[in-house]
């Protein structure tokens, strides 16, 4: 380093400045990529969404035409509205379920029991298997669908299925919306388990950073496991609830039909303007949800400092 500065004839800088320079150097590769593969595309996508894009052999020509694409997305395209609402509703329904479920499982997987590492290995398997093309194809597998049908009609599973649960809870006087929500979750258990692999990992990591002294002290004072969870574990992992919520939301980008619609509009119908407009509407909707949920959750989050 010293020889380097001497060669360039510069005065040796002080420690802090040197560090800052190196910092810029370390971040530069990312910055170049950020500008070329993110910022410029993002801005041009915004421009496309307000204009008519025609691609021909000379390249692409852009002519501004205002909000036409946005209006077309909402009024002309037959399935955009439906898919957008579906995507948003799915997100709103699934995010709390996945976060609560993965927190619960992380607590369970953190306890000591026989075959714990084996169980952990299985629970993280969806991180690998339920992603990308495999997930898409799996949902379309006919053999699986037929087998599920057979299993369902054979009676044994049905008896223990969510139907009984539903009846039980309704009789106990639980509100019908909540019952439907919960039984719906039971019916989609595979979907939920397969989407919560990374979240379980994050929660598990968070739980293991909590110092055991806290638990010991609370046990001495006579706290039950239940109280220890709500008074110690929950506040200590609450920052991770925010992280996991955001992760779950961005994770849903890759697995909804709206993404497919945006893609086909762009690459099959070659309507780049409309496709960009759809993508921006989707982005705006997600940002709104993220903002609202971050606002509500972060006011409840407990920070150590």
């Amino acid at each position: 380093m010293k020889s380097l500065t001497r060669r360039f004839g510069a005065k040796p800088r002080n420690y802090g400045k040197q560090k800052a320079l190196w910092g810029i150097a370390y971040v530069t590769p990312w910055l170049v990529g950020f500008i070329f593969f993110f910022l410029i595309p993002l801005l041009s996508s915004l421009i496309y969404s307000f204009s008519e894009v025609t691609a021909n052999s000379q390249g692409i020509s852009i002519s501004l035409k205002g909000l036409t694409n946005y209006v077309a997305a909402f009024t002309v395209n037959t399935s955009f509205n439906r898919l957008l609402t579906e995507a948003i509703v799915d997100m709103v329904v699934n995010v709390p379920l996945i976060v609560i479920f993965s927190l619960f499982l992380a607590v369970v997987l953190n306890q000591k029991f026989l075959g714990r590492s084996f169980a952990r290995a299985i629970f993280f398997l969806p991180v690998i298997l339920a992603s990308g093309v495999i997930l898409t194809l799996e949902s379309g597998s006919l053999v699986q669908a037929v087998n599920a049908q057979n299993a369902g009609s054979s009676g044994l599973i049905n008896a223990l299925g969510s139907f009984e649960l539903e009846r039980l809870m309704l009789q106990a006087g639980v509100s019908e919306t909540i019952v439907n929500y919960l039984t719906g979750a039971v019916d989609r258990i595979y979907e939920i388990v397969s989407q919560s692999g990374v979240q379980i990992l994050i929660f598990l990591a968070a739980i293991q950073t909590i110092s055991p002294q806290l638990y010991e002290a609370s046990k001495m004072e006579g706290a039950t496991g239940y109280e220890a969870f709500w008074k110690i574990t929950f506040p200590m992992v609450s920052p991770m609830i925010l992280v996991n919520m955001i992760y779950t939301i961005i994770d849903s980008f890759s697995r909804n039909e709206l993404t497919d619609l945006i893609r086909t509009t762009g690459f099959v119908q070659f309507d780049f303007g409309l496709s960009s407009a759809m993508a921006w509407i989707y982005f705006a909707a997600i940002s709104l949800i993220l903002l609202i949920s971050t606002y509500f959750v972060s006011s409840k989050v407990f920070y150590h400092e």
Partner: protein, 314 residues
């Protein structure tokens, strides 16, 4: 003594809880493993077994023909090789560039580094579909700031090559790279400052400190990001189908498998038996994830351990 233990409520409670826990974990594990078991069972089935009501799990006529069909149609071995090269390449480059950026953001603060890190978060939050079309058009006529046309006279079409993957991962902007930068930053922030200061006092420069002190310490974070990026690249169909239209990698081969199969069976795709198509497709999926499962078996111990020490949680 033994009687009092037998009567103790505490013991009963504990026993009851472990029973519930066992049922829960066993059940959920089954839910997770079920599709894989199903695929394995289907893969060995003969066509006749599909319609036989007595066959549920164990096929009556064992056959390897599904595997042979799937291997032939997917062009399995070359595809495996291509996918492996592609994933390994992006994994190496992504891990390296994200580690650099993560260290820069964590320890080498400069004016505006906070703002730039907010930009990293932004890259995580923006859906990739939003920027896909401009990137596509950009790569189709790649000019590198107008430098390439100056030399060769015309722009280069980078589509259908590995260049888009190399360029994006070299500059830490590939699939989910923002997440990896975040993981590295959190991890480096968790390493005590004293370690670095000791290195500086002993005369190590910032570069040496990074390569000789910080990187060996960051092995858990490196493993985690490497595994994530390898797997997600392997399974990715979003970027792969956009950048690589005709090259043979696993995800494109998988998604076109049913179509290719029906063509191979002769003629009209709509006439082929949908169950048979689905069966071969399941076998194809099994073949595609088999390498991942094998890798996972070897690294899962490090993976589970390492993520606990990555300090994702800060």
């Amino acid at each position: 003594m033994s009687v009092s233990r037998w009567l103790s409520l505490e013991n009963w409670k504990r026993g009851f809880w472990s029973l519930i826990r066992f049922t829960l974990i066993f059940g959920l594990s089954f839910v997770i493993l079920y599709p894989i078991l199903q695929k394995i069972s289907t893969a060995f089935k003969d066509k006749r077994d599909l319609y036989s009501p007595v066959v549920v799990w164990i096929p009556e006529n064992f056959t390897m023909s599904n595997f042979l069909d799937a291997i032939r149609i997917m062009d399995y071995w070359p595809t495996l090789f291509n996918t492996f090269v592609l994933s390994a390449m992006t994994t190496l480059l992504t891990a390296a560039s994200c580690a650099l950026a993560g260290y820069g953001f964590a320890r080498l603060k400069f004016k505006g580094s906070g703002l730039l890190f907010a930009c990293v978060i932004l890259t995580i939050l923006v859906p990739p579909t939003t920027i896909l079309i401009p990137i596509y058009l950009n790569l189709k006529e790649f000019t590198l700031l107008g430098l390439i046309p100056l030399i060769t006279g015309k722009s280069v079409n980078l589509l259908n090559s590995y260049w888009p993957f190399i360029l994006t991962s070299l500059t830490a902007n590939s699939l989910k790279a923002g997440l990896y930068i975040f993981i590295f930053r959190q991890f480096f922030r968790g390493i005590p400052k004293e370690v670095e200061e000791a290195a500086y006092i002993d005369g190590a420069g910032i570069g040496t400190t990074f390569t000789r002190i910080m990187m060996p310490n960051a092995i858990p974070a490196i493993l985690t990001t490497a595994l994530f990026s390898f797997v997600w690249q392997w399974n990715d169909s979003f970027y792969t189908t956009t950048y690589l239209t005709s090259s043979k990698v696993m995800s494109t081969q998988l998604s076109s498998l049913p179509y290719n199969l029906s063509i191979m069976l002769g003629g009209d795709p709509s006439k082929a038996d949908p169950f048979y198509l689905s069966m071969v497709q399941d076998t194809g999926i099994l073949l595609a994830i088999l390498p991942l499962i094998i890798i996972y078996l070897f690294v899962q111990r490090y993976f589970v351990e390492s993520i606990e020490r990555t300090g994702i949680v800060g």
